[in-house]
């Protein structure tokens, strides 16, 4: 399929390009930029006037809820949500049911996702069998089946010896370990950040040190084992500082924050809004500001959606009984743009956080638009407003603390491997 995209403003952070230019796609790749290749006849002409043309977004955390949680969401609905959000590649955590700890399960998921011909799905394998924290998984087999890394999702990993061995084992093969730092004892029973808001609302708190204690353990074990680690969903200023120091010391560590933590803090719980029940909890304003600043300075590498569709009924309960999580695939772009505007960051620098930076962490040749390379694109209108409400979302997860908010930035078209997979 030969496609000619004209009049669009191409922003490609990796190649440092920002300007109005023509883009020519053929055979799933970028055939040329600016001038048409000789003899190029387009099957389809797309007028991208007033739109931004960016590399398709890469989301490091999106729960698709298959296998096992089909009552919450299906692959079909969530993959629709992904491309509606401009996401062309996504990483899904292993906390499905059953857990992604068997090569067969991984193959099946990859196969299912591939057959939908939408975004590319990169599953993370479980670090331990059943995520029970006792026995290592067959990481080499899982990698061959398609796992891009190994994660412990939100399951507690209490045994430090096991954590160390898991990291050593992963390091043996050069696999990246994905860990969300949280001390399970300090987090037990907690549902909100342990601070003034939780005190006032009478909610059991998880102190920020639950994150920094676990993070310090992980970083120390990194020094011991040489493992490469991606830190998932930082939530505190202490956490940011630990990562900053570790990077300065040359440790092979990367980290992400979710779109929710980039903007909200514990005050947004308001009058017990269950939509603000998240893992990790929303911490205080200073923590939020440190996370935002970390994203600017690069201590925090990427922004991810942390897409977690939850059944509406699981939110229509008292705050402490609600299931944690928020929908996010369709909010990744507008919330990245919002952060950029508020922090006075260029569009290019903002888009880097959801294109070439995640690609770098995954070790993929993606997140950029270079001649001869794969053509994943997102065309979006940076000036379009839309209100976050259930009918506007393709995901089956309708719950987000941003319900009712006005967003700026609407995806108009998404292409994967040179094919249009979404247009509005």
């Amino acid at each position: 399929m030969k496609i000619h995209i004209k009049n669009g403003r191409l922003i490609d952070p990796k190649n440092n390009f920002d300007g109005v230019t023509d883009i020519y796609l053929a055979a799933g790749k970028v055939a040329a930029l600016g001038q048409a290749p000789d003899g190029f006849t387009a099957n389809r002409e797309i007028d991208a006037r007033n739109l931004i043309v960016a590399p398709g977004f890469i989301d490091l955390a999106a729960r698709l809820r298959e296998p096992g949680y089909e009552y919450l969401a299906t692959l079909e609905s969530e993959m629709q949500a992904a491309v509606a959000g401009g996401v062309t590649r996504l990483v899904c955590p292993p906390d499905t049911d059953p857990v992604l700890d068997e090569p067969g399960l991984v193959e099946m998921l990859k196969h299912r996702a591939k057959s939908l011909n939408q975004a590319h799905v990169y599953p993370l394998g479980a670090l331990t069998q059943g995520l029970a924290g006792k026995v290592l998984t067959e990481m080499a087999e899982l990698h061959d089946a398609g796992c891009i890394g190994f994660s412990h999702a939100n399951a507690p990993l209490i045994d430090t010896t096991l954590l160390m061995r898991a990291m050593q084992y992963a390091a043996t093969f050069g696999f990246t370990v994905w860990l969300r730092p949280e001390d399970p004892f300090l987090a037990k029973g907690g549902i909100a950040h342990d601070g003034e808001v939780a005190t006032r609302l009478g909610l059991a708190g998880i102190p920020a040190c639950a994150e920094s204690i676990a993070l310090a353990t992980i970083l120390t074990l990194m020094r011991e084992t040489g493992a490469r680690v991606h830190i998932c969903r930082l939530s505190s200023r202490a956490g940011v500082e630990l990562v900053r120091q570790a990077k300065a010391d040359g440790l092979p560590v990367t980290c992400d924050i979710s779109i929710n933590h980039a903007h909200l803090c514990d005050m947004d719980i308001g009058y017990f809004d269950s939509n603000a029940n998240l893992i990790p909890p929303l911490r205080d304003q200073r923590d939020r500001d440190a996370l935002r600043a970390g994203l600017v300075s690069g201590v925090v590498d990427v922004l991810c959606s942390d897409h977690t569709p939850v059944d509406e009924n699981a939110k229509q309960v008292p705050f402490g009984e609600a299931e944690a999580g928020a929908t996010g695939l369709e909010l990744l772009l507008p919330l990245a743009l919002k952060w950029a505007i508020e922090q006075k960051i260029s569009l290019s620098a903002a888009l880097a956080k959801i294109t070439c930076e995640p690609a770098r962490i995954l070790g993929l040749d993606a997140g950029h638009l270079s001649v001869g390379h794969n053509a994943d694109l997102c065309l979006f209108d940076p000036a379009a407003h839309w209100r976050v409400a259930a009918p506007a979302l393709k995901s089956q997860g309708k719950n987000t603390p941003f319900l009712g908010y006005e967003m700026l930035g609407k995806v108009r078209m998404t292409l994967v491997s040179g094919h249009v997979v979404y247009e509005s």
Binding site: D194, G195, E196, A198, T199, R200, L201, G202, L203, G205, P207, D268, G270, Y271, F272, D273, N313, Q316, V317, P318, F319, G320, E321
Partner: protein
């Protein structure tokens, strides 16, 4: 963010969910109304026909005899029909959600729900959900709020001390887990008490408690000096020995109210307790039964205050 469901558009009280957000004027008007109900309670016929024909459902998800009983008495003295529902944890786990239970009861003609629940925010959830003509009274949600207790405590203080703006008040005990403490703190600060103190070991003080407008004391001997009101909090059994405290005996030694320690307060200081008391743990019997304790009057006033709250809510359109 959801709006405050407690007040109607014109600022009238539609539900009573928490003392936080109520003005001093509104609190005083509740106390004034309660005064009238005290005199009703002193008559031969202790009933008034105000809520005749109204159905009040006591929806208690946490067991409680005393609070439920005072609400029941209060409702009956208003001539309302009262239905008591003790929803045990097991029937909840049979699948019916909190809101489904509420919807079913509303379909049976409930005009008002008095709700006690183990989760903070439960009363808010119900209040946001019910039809406009139904009112919700929070009888205690998790560790968040117990507004009628806070109000009856303020009524008691007003009766004995009159002017809030001249008082030093000390709240002693497990502030961290106490909805009573939070409601008392909001009420005292709103009514202009210049010095509100909390006295507890650090393990029983929640993070950032000073932001609620209190002075923190870990030393009870310092904290009780010259206070006009001592408000004791109940220590739950499960907290007496574990990560929060080593033993009830040690707790009593440092934080129990004895006659000696009470001497540090003003000579006419009053001693309050929301009940039920753990004698010998947070309070010595000699104090609990002594002349400065106003614990039994608190119970009487509790009926009048709850009558006032229910009639004010029922009268709001």
């Amino acid at each position: 963010m959801t709006p405050n469901p407690q007040l109607s558009e014109d600022g009238a009280l539609r539900h009573l969910l928490t003392i936080e957000g109520l003005s001093a004027k509104l609190i005083h008007s509740i106390l004034d109304t309660a005064e009238s109900f005290v005199s009703v309670g002193e008559r031969e016929v202790k009933k008034v026909p105000l809520l005749r024909g109204k159905s009040i459902f006591n929806l208690f998800f946490e067991p409680s005899t005393r609070t439920r009983t005072t609400f029941e008495i209060a409702a009956k003295r208003l001539s309302a029909d009262v239905v008591n529902l003790n929803v045990s944890a097991s029937s909840q786990s049979k699948g019916e959600t909190l809101l489904d239970t509420v919807d079913n009861l509303a379909a049976m003609g409930a005009d008002m729900f008095v709700v006690r629940h183990a989760q903070s925010g439960a009363a808010h959830l119900i209040a946001r959900h019910v039809a406009p003509h139904i009112h919700v009274v929070n009888a205690g949600d998790g560790r968040h709020a117990h507004p009628t207790q806070g109000l009856l405590d303020m009524f008691t203080i007003r009766r004995y001390k009159q002017d809030f703006t001249k008082l030093k008040v000390a709240i002693v005990g497990d502030v961290m887990h106490s909805r009573v403490a939070r409601s008392e703190i909001h009420a005292l600060t709103t009514l202009g008490v210049p010095e509100v103190r909390v006295i507890a070991p650090r393990t029983l003080l929640p993070t950032g408690v000073e932001a609620l407008g209190v002075h923190v004391y870990n030393d009870m001997l310092q904290g009780l000096k010259d206070v006009d009101v001592v408000m004791m909090l109940r220590l739950q059994n499960e907290r007496m020995s574990g990560p929060f405290l080593p033993s009830a005996q040690e707790y009593f030694k440092s934080y129990g109210l004895t006659a000696d320690k009470l001497q540090l307060a003003k000579p006419d200081a009053i001693v309050m307790h929301p009940g039920p008391m753990n004698r010998g743990v947070e309070i010595d019997s000699s104090v609990a039964d002594g002349g400065q304790a106003v614990i039994l009057p608190q119970v009487t006033y509790g009926i009048a205050v709850r009558m006032a709250v229910m009639s004010m809510l029922a009268g709001t359109q």
